[in-house]
Amino acid sequence: MSIQINESPFQERVQKGIENDFMRQAVSSAQGRFRTGKLTQAEELGNWEDWRQLGEEIRKHTVENLDYYLQQLSDQVSRRGGNVFFASTAEEATEYIQNVIKNKEAKKVVKSKSMVTEEIGLNHALELGGVEVVESDLGEWILQLDDDPPSHIVTPALHKNKEQIRETFAEKRGYTNSDKPEELASFSRDQLRKEFLSADVGITGCNFAIAESGTITLVTNEGNAEMATTLTDTLVTVMGMERIVPTWEEMEILVGLLTRSAVCQKLTSYITAYTGSRLEDEIDGPDDYHLVIVDNGRSKILGTEFQAALHCIRCAACINVCPVYRHIGGHAHNSIYPGPIGAVLTPLLDGYQDHTELPYASSLCGACTEACPVKIPLHDMLIKHRQIIVEKENKAPTAEKMMMKGFAKWSSSPAAYILSTKMARLALKAWTKDDTIENGPGPLKNWTNSRNFPAPSKQSFRAWYKEREKSGGAS
């Protein structure tokens, strides 16, 4: 599995999402909880807009000076006995990790939740090589048992309910108890604990890498990441190349924005931090430590009008307020990065070819931009994508192109425009009944399939205004 999660056409995926009543109910109620929870958190903190501003400035500065901070991070990790590998592609990253595992003759890997490892298809690659991979995050583990991709970047199994989880546990792990969350959690704890203790290599993602100290920080509520970071002698971190902060001070600010935006908490139950490998005078840490920094298309975004997309801290605030996501769910986006940030990022990382529809799957309502804690202008970027699809990729439908050419002529010529205001009612007369259109022609049909369309006014405004002026203006 890589960034794409299936191959069916977009509208088919949309329909499937719309028809999935359970998923929609689950997403809708989760969004409701996130909405109020986040507002409460922002209010409690106070000056939310100032914090967002600060968040944006930190991310902007870091990404603008990414080369400097990556060098600093790399130097610090090396100084602390770690190995640093810069992977240009997903393949380079997975190959490096496969070699680490091979050198250890390892058979089992314990992992913490990580979107970048989903992006590079790490689990799949390792499993092909005969290595068993155990996800330590409960949501990810459920999905792993079911071979199901994540539908959300923070709560990956959001689309599943407890009955479905009970079935999965029963089928895959011989679970016999009820679908009570406590019993399900207790069962998975028993199952996972055994797995953790027998793993040879730990792999984690990274929320923020701190350049000044070479420290990797992870944000979790289950504490599961520590199973990957403390139980094995060999530890690998996989991070997207932009997931970096200059110092602990910036980390503290961003982590507060992240946890409030992602899970409506001041802080999560666990913030895990680890640095390099165990040095001679230290009592803990891995003997063998590897930091894999993944580019996989990110450096191509630098210096473009999409650079701010690299500011993302993967909080999913945009997903949690997105009405489109609420109705079609994460899988319809056909990317492990769904929702507004996914629609922006996926074509950048994976090309337009398989993702032409994504930038259009938005009403441009701007809820995402408003929610983003680091102020990424997400809906503006969707418009920019559309512009590229039209002008550079030349992937817009011919009928649409002709219509827009017509629009340009119509709207830049008052004579043509005025004529159309006079003719509009007549042109739609055949479809009009009682001043409303229930079954419109051409592209209007898509509208009238589900709602009425108004008939044009009997007299256009400008015609009325002209008459009024002739008769002496205001009464």
């Binding site: 441009l364 809820a367 512009q387 205001t421 898509n446 709602r451």
Partner: protein, 239 residues
């Protein structure tokens, strides 16, 4: 105060009454209204679909149309929001940059103009009824107009104002989105219609004809009795 009316193509063609009400409201509060005939469309349908070159042709037409105006006032948060974007789009274009900025600076959405520029909240409406209000996305998030329409509505004596649940949610209009992604748009407007019904209001009021056509068209299809009206109709009711 000399005000040029930016009627928007939607109102010009589909909702002439919104234009008439706008003229009468502005005149009632003492403005001297004119209607520059060279105006067409703000260009948003093309711009939002990715056709920037095509959009710029209508934008230039709008810049020409309002060249001599002191204030440009329109009954739409979305279309005025588009005018406000012009300076970004013509940045670096020596011929148009300055004029684009000038137009953006002097443009206002109607309720914003009444409250912030004219400085009035009582425009003499005698409307009676139970209303709820949908704050359209571009009015609030793009243009930043949140309070003005509410202030104008809430001070009308005969109005019972009921808050719309999850009012900030998009109605699913989104211009070409409503036909290009009709299935998603339909789910969004169904949800909005449901929320409006929950309020038991007699009227759903809004400040953008696009959204109102969408919500109104859906509620009509569902056979619901709620009247979907532009805020100008409420403000210009004077018995």
């Amino acid at each position: 105060m000399k005000v040029s009316l930016f009627i928007t193509c939607l109102c010009d063609i589909f909702s002439a009454n919104v234009g008439k009400d706008t003229v009468e409201i502005l005149e009632r509060v003492g403005c001297n209204v004119d209607f520059p005939e060279l105006q067409t469309c703000c260009g948003q349908p093309a711009y939002n679909s990715g056709y920037v070159k095509e959009a710029k042709q209508s934008m230039k037409q709008m810049i020409r149309a309002f060249k001599d105006s002191d204030y440009v006032v329109g009954p739409s948060g979305s279309c005025v929001g588009m005018l406000k974007e012009y300076p970004n789009l013509f940045k670096g274009d020596k011929e148009w940059e300055e004029d684009a900025k000038e137009l953006a600076d002097k443009s206002y959405e109607l309720t914003q103009f009444l409250v912030d520029v004219v400085g009035i909240v009582d425009v003499g409406s005698t409307f009676n009824g139970r209303i709820t209000y949908h704050p359209s996305c571009h009015m609030t998030r793009i243009l930043g107009v949140n309070d003005a329409p509410i202030l104008l509505l809430k001070q009308i004596e005969g109005i019972e104002f009921i808050e719309l649940p999850v009012k900030e949610d998009c109605c699913g209009f989104g211009g070409t989105f409503s036909v290009k992604n009709a299935a998603i748009s339909e789910e969004m407007v169904k949800e909005k219609s449901q929320h409006v019904t929950e309020t038991k209001a007699e009227y759903l009021v809004g400040g953008d004809m696009g959204c109102l056509m969408n919500i109104g068209g859906r509620m009509q299809r569902e056979g619901k009795k709620v009247e979907v009206v532009h805020i100008t109709e409420i403000l210009n009711t004077t018995d």
